[in-house]
């Protein structure tokens, strides 16, 4: 076994998150690919908590599905997480002997009795001298033991975590860890054969989440202003920048609301700086009017929207992909506003840099549509070369152009050189009012038509940006998958599974969601007769948007459901197999594979 999903749950104070993090850090240090997600009950603090840690020797792109190993510190808390910690007949179920339950009568559905083990977790913790507080370290010891993870890195992880505290605390934690390992060694579980070597270089991978990666990319892109207002699950972007941006000569304003946040960001852009705001659905709704202002005033701006469950306040801590309509179509009047989406902690860096570059190049607000899953999961990321990302800055007027400067001059590219306060000769009136080339208000329908045309036409080169798409699989395959955001990670794995079973599939992942680069899709769909657009929204929003401008292959269907519960690769493959059967694709494909 080289790919395992571990899920654990416990009460507030059980430190289940700390256990997951220690394991995650250890596995990362050891060169494994790791993805960790957390989930909490509704209590603000002290309620039940859980985490999922997926560890693999090969690259992974999503949090995985049914648990391989389930750890229940107590059953009532474990069960509260329902579909987030799914147990199946092959799941190894480990639970604290304190529950005094027989493996035959566990209160969870669908498990196998012969794979359920009562483990004296609390007892060991108490014996170790650290008391109930170190139950979590016992768990870490047990797991590293049974999974045959190297001891060193995890211990290092524990020391990192507890080193700063009271030495007695650290000692107790290490003791509990050792006792857990010893127990695992003494009580091997045949069904749990260990993870096998990571194959990765130890001590070189990064470990972080999407929000911090995004904020880092903003700094890398030269962003020197952030204006925003806290909102889950985007706040860590602001929090990261509030520690860092000053160092780069930048500044940050925690504004009184989202409107002021984007207002200040627009102001900073008007003043010539690269500028950003970040929010989630409710905040994006509030920013709508000023977004429209940035479009007509042609000001560069990056707006990060970390999607959560909607509508309205919805489900702040759950992921969903249902803000695409809002991102593309909100704000009144005719507006084209590019929308980009990352698919993982690894690629959000590059996508964020693209967002800044596009904003600057086309003098436009750009929406970076992240989601809670990407934003808040911890993911191990292999180091990459930052110099692969060129940095683009807005085109300023030359001295010559400043001579008879017109801010909104109608040029061939429809992009007009942009000045900023402080630049002699470049004074102009920015406005939300329709204007002529000089920026003066107009009520002329003819000028309005011309300016609308300019504001759309300037994006023409964006439709040719093939680098904003990821294509995988056999280019000739008649089955197609399209997916975006965190769900794209599910489809990347589904593609591998499908290929393994001989299904002729290929995959398109757009980082550029809007405008729809028709040619890229047309080429991709050439020869495709069926397939799926997989996304986490009730309406299947990207599917509908593609239909607006593309004639999709007749068998290409929307595969969409509401958020919070992630898609599983196997689910996608099942659908594909069904389509392949209907089309009579199955035999020859299977033959080809054999």
């Amino acid at each position: 076994m080289s790919d395992l999903v571990i899920g654990m749950a416990g009460a507030g104070g059980d430190g289940i998150i700390a256990a997951g993090e220690s394991l995650t850090v250890g596995a990362t240090l050891d060169g494994y690919h790791v993805i960790m997600t957390k989930s909490f009950g509704s209590q603000i603090r002290g309620g039940e908590s859980s985490c999922r840690v997926r560890v693999s020797a090969t690259p992974i792109f999503n949090q995985g599905g049914v648990l391989d190993v389930a750890v229940a510190l107590n059953w009532s808390d474990f069960l509260k997480f329902g579909a987030e910690l799914p147990v199946g007949p092959r799941t190894i179920v480990l639970y604290d002997s304190e529950s005094h339950l027989d493996p035959a009568v566990l209160p969870v559905e669908g498990y196998s009795e012969d794979r359920a083990f009562s483990v004296p977790i609390t007892e060991m913790a108490r014996k170790s001298g650290g008391g109930d507080r170190v139950k979590n370290m016992v768990v870490v010891g047990l797991l590293t033991g049974w999974l045959q993870l190297a001891e060193g890195p995890t211990r290092k992880g524990i020391r990192k975590r507890f080193g700063a505290k009271d030495p007695a605390v650290l000692a107790a934690a290490e003791k509990a860890f050792d006792d857990g390992r010893a127990y695992a060694a003494a009580n091997p579980i045949a069904a749990l054969p260990g993870l096998g070597a990571s194959g990765g270089a130890a001590g070189t991978n990064m470990l972080t989440d999407g929000n911090e990666m995004c904020a880092s990319a903003a700094l890398f892109s030269g962003c020197t202003f952030f204006g925003g207002y806290p909102i889950t699950p985007s706040t860590e972007i602001m929090q990261f920048l509030s520690r860092e941006i000053w160092k780069y000569g930048g500044s940050l304003l925690q504004a009184e609301d989202e409107i002021a946040g984007i207002g200040a960001a627009v102001g900073a852009s008007f003043a010539g700086k690269k500028s950003m705001t970040a929010t989630s659905g409710p905040g994006l709704s509030l920013k709508t009017e000023v977004l429209g202002l940035a479009s007509i005033a042609e000001l560069p701006l990056v707006v990060v929207n970390v999607q959560r469950g909607g509508p309205s306040t919805g489900m702040p801590t759950k992921t969903e992909q249902a803000d695409l309509y809002q991102s593309v179509f909100s704000s009144h009047g005719d507006v084209l506003r590019p929308v980009l989406a990352p698919t993982s902690v690894a690629d959000i860096f590059g996508v964020t840099v693209h967002a800044f570059n596009i904003a600057e190049e086309y003098q436009t607000p750009v929406i970076l549509l992240s989601d809670q899953e990407i934003a808040q999961r911890k993911e191990s990321v292999e180091p990459f070369d930052l110099s692969q990302f060129p940095i683009v800055s807005r085109r300023e007027p030359t001295a010559e152009e400043l001579e008879h400067y017109q801010r909104f001059r109608l040029t061939e590219s429809s992009i007009s050189p942009i000045s900023h306060p402080g630049m002699a000769g470049g004074s102009y009136q920015g406005a939300g009012i329709e204007h002529n080339e000089a920026g003066s208000p107009t009520a002329s329908g003819v000028m309005h038509a011309r300016m609308n045309e300019k504001r759309f036409h300037k994006f023409a080169p964006l439709y040719e940006r093939r680098d904003l798409f990821l294509i995988e699989g056999d280019p000739q395959a008649p089955l197609a998958l399209v997916s975006w955001g965190s769900t794209a990670g599910v489809c990347r794995e589904a593609l591998r599974l499908a290929e393994d079973e001989g299904l002729p599939v290929k995959l398109l992942v757009p980082y550029l969601l809007y405008p729809v680069a028709e040619k890229v899709y047309q080429e991709f769909f050439r020869g495709v007769s069926a397939g799926l657009l997989v996304e986490q929204s009730y309406q299947g929003q990207l599917y509908r948007i593609l239909r607006m401008v593309l004639d999709l292959p007749s068998g290409f269907e929307s595969c969409a459901h509401s958020g919070a519960i992630p898609f599983q690769p196997s689910e996608v493959v099942d659908h594909l197999r069904g389509q392949a059967e209907k089309l009579g694709l199955l035999e020859p494909a299977a033959a080809a594979a054999s």
Binding site: G263, G267, S427, Q429, G430
Partner: protein, 295 residues
Amino acid sequence: MTTNASQCSSFQINDYRSDLKPIWCPGCGDYGVVTSLYRALAHIGRPPHEIAFVSGIGCSSRIPGYTTAYGFNSVHGRALPIAQGIKLANPELLVLVAGGDGDGFSIGGGHLPHAVRRNMDLTYVVMDNQIYGLTKGQLSPTSHRGVHTVTSPEGSLEEPVNPLLYVLAYGANFVAQGTPADMPGLSAMIEEAIRYPGFAFVNVQSPCVTFGPPEQQLRAHKEGMKSLVSLGHDPTNRVQAMSMAQAYGHELYTGVFYRHPDPPPSYEKLVAERQDHMKATAVPRERLLDRFVQH
């Protein structure tokens, strides 16, 4: 690129006046405001391109377009947040903000306390005509109780906003009121507000000749205005200023209500200190991600 403010300026009024013909009605008080502003700017002598002038939407909010500054006639009620972004992005700029009573105290009223308490070096001029001019005569937040307008045909049922008192309560360090009925006073006041380091607020009773109330016209101002100086008001006393401000809507007091004698450092100054102090700890751009590596 920056020229420091100096007593002896090499700029003339016409250096700040643009070619655009105002859309204002003949006789509108806003003409007086823009003229006073030209004068103040000419005294101060910053080159126009070093000025950023932000407004919202309304008749009054057209004012940046009639100057040669970089103007931003933004959206209704959002001038202050935009101006703060500009100031933080480039503290060297002279940043002016202007708009109407509706723009500033109704839709934009939520931004005002925060702009004041942050205390950036901005000058905010409100052309308070107690009416919505651009949209043709609706009730404004500063309209008197009982007033009949197209949206209050049976009379308004609300107490008006008191901008002077509010802004004093928010802790503003420079608060003044003027009227185009006293042009020299108005331009001196605007000049002082601009020179004042930190957030400065000037409420101008700027008559709307087309939709405004009769007691709110130049003639009435000329007859009724009383200068705070003549009343012996002490502008270093915030509590006294608040008590004088209570007369808003009943008496037209002109001049400086409050001026903090010892201006505290502005927000952007504190930011600059922080930047200076932290810049040594900046990781080079190409090593930004090193912090995430586990070893």
